[in-house]
Amino acid sequence: MALDVELVKKDFAILDQLVHGHRIVYLDSASSSQKPAAVLDAMQHLYETTYANVHRGVYAIAEESTRLYEEARTKVAAFLGAASTREVIFTKNVTEAINLVAYTWGRTNLGPGDAVLLTEMEHHANLVPWLQLKAERGIELRYLGVDGEGQLILDDLEQLVDGVKLVGLTLVSNVLGTLNPVAEVARVAHAAGALVLVDGAQYTPHFTTRVAELGCDFYGFTAHKMLGPTGIGCLWARESLLEEMPIFLGGGEMIRDVRLDGFTANELPWKFEAGTPPIAEAVGLGAAVDYLLAIGMADVRAHEIELTRYALESLHERHGDDIRIFGPSDPEKRGGVLSFAYKDIHPHDISQVLDEVGVCVRAGHHCAKPLMRRLGVGATARASFYLYNDEADVDALSSALTSADRLFS
């Protein structure tokens, strides 16, 4: 059953408005997605009926609040194919999930001369925490390169992974859209004795996520890109790994006992959740998971492939050599993230002209400056799709590019 975009759109009030007198065409979901009524309602309902702090009170609404918070964890665990809720740590976002690994696992296991293998297409979120360790402790960083089609160069993988303790990579590039062969990389990494950390920020919103099949050891995603609220993300890791890892932030919630001369950490997953957690946000994330599952991730992905194919074809047809779309040309091998250069008009100017007709695209380096250097551009314009976008949105983008051309040449 194909996804009914018209029906889906009705769930997103924000999309039913005019910007500068034009229907809003939101093409920046890779940066952050919009939220359906079901998510907003779930959060509102919590606040209006059962909100209280979690894991503390014994009164009715505190118990209900705790139940809803933990129910969200159960939903996320199932959504990821996790073995248990003990493997699901709520964080602020995926950036914090990766930092959690770098601070706890990294600072226990990585010292001078230890190597971490990353890729040239990582988001700064999966670069800077490791660069910090390089600066702090002299760890060695190695990088898998990116070829002209935007694919990882895996020819030297076996040599590069030799002696490495961790391989960190994104599943889907937020610039190129490339869908990386994570399972294959994980097999080689594990054979070499390395652990594998996967940045799922651009994957989990669009695909069925099965952490076991991906073969990774750490997996992170962020709720606001998958119809959920800001302020919550998730780290998944194998339970045995999480057990070994020292605590991250200290405070309430993450302890079992505190004395004046020491403390005992709480059990998983709360061991890594210091302080009052994002309660309503977790409930919102749970509602986003329900919403996506009701539509079906297979349909979400099929819609993305279809729309990406339409965009690649129609943009090339209308704009010919004037448009250069980065990343893989096969829609099956990529996510719905289209970075492009148009003539030699600067991305800032493109997005400004597009805004005039209500088309929202991102312009900039997309927090991937090393990749920008590799592509030989300072910035790109980027259009990205989600389940509420349709062919009319692509057409609006395409026509707006023609106006940009008229203005600047």
Binding site: P347, H348, K369, G378, L407, F408
Partner: protein
């Protein structure tokens, strides 16, 4: 609602399409300064030849959007041949053209180099200070529309901040070099 025509005035597009004073100068005697806009990755390189308290020559390099490039081009035309004090006054005048929003965006003024150097009596040793009211911005006034598009103000001011830094460096260099 501001329209695009407020932003992309014809004169701005002209400077964008036909940038003035593009290129490089040999260093030394010129100083070379780079400015970055961390938000969008734009970069401006200013080559600045200052002698006898005067901007003898300058060239602009780097890449960026129409606003940053045209602003740099107009700036180069406006300050070439001017005394250092006049150049600093032009920077001040241009920034006050942009200022309302810039200060609100930045909170603290991150352009200490420019305004700090310029506000002191004597303009940091560049001759008598020139009051900014005396500065005629001419074509630069066309950039006034930018203030209605707050995120683009950084584009317009990038080259000016870079120039201010260049003037500081050129004056430092001449103060320390044996004459």
């Amino acid at each position: 609602m501001p329209g695009l025509e407020d932003l992309y005035r014809e004169i701005i597009l002209d400077h964008y399409r036909n940038p003035r004073n593009r290129g490089e100068l040999p260093t030394p005697p010129a100083v070379r300064v780079e400015g970055f806009n961390p938000l969008c990755g734009d970069e401006i390189v200013v080559f600045l030849d200052v002698a006898d308290d005067r901007v003898q020559d300058l060239r602009i390099g780097g890449q960026g959007c129409s606003i940053s490039q045209s602003s740099a081009s107009m700036m180069s035309a406006a300050v070439k041949g001017k005394t250092v004090a006049e150049a600093r006054a032009t920077i001040r005048a241009f920034k006050s053209l942009m200022s309302i929003h810039e200060q609100r965006l930045d909170g603290a003024d991150d352009d200490g180099g420019a305004s700090g150097g310029a506000s002191g009596a004597g303009g940091g040793g560049g001759g008598p200070a020139v009051p900014e009211a005396a500065v005629k911005l001419g074509d630069l006034e066309a950039l006034q529309g930018v203030v209605r598009f707050p995120v683009r103000i950084k584009c317009a001011t990038l080259s000016w901040n870079t120039l201010a830094q260049g003037l500081d460096e050129a004056q430092e260099a001449s103060a320390t070099s044996p004459s």
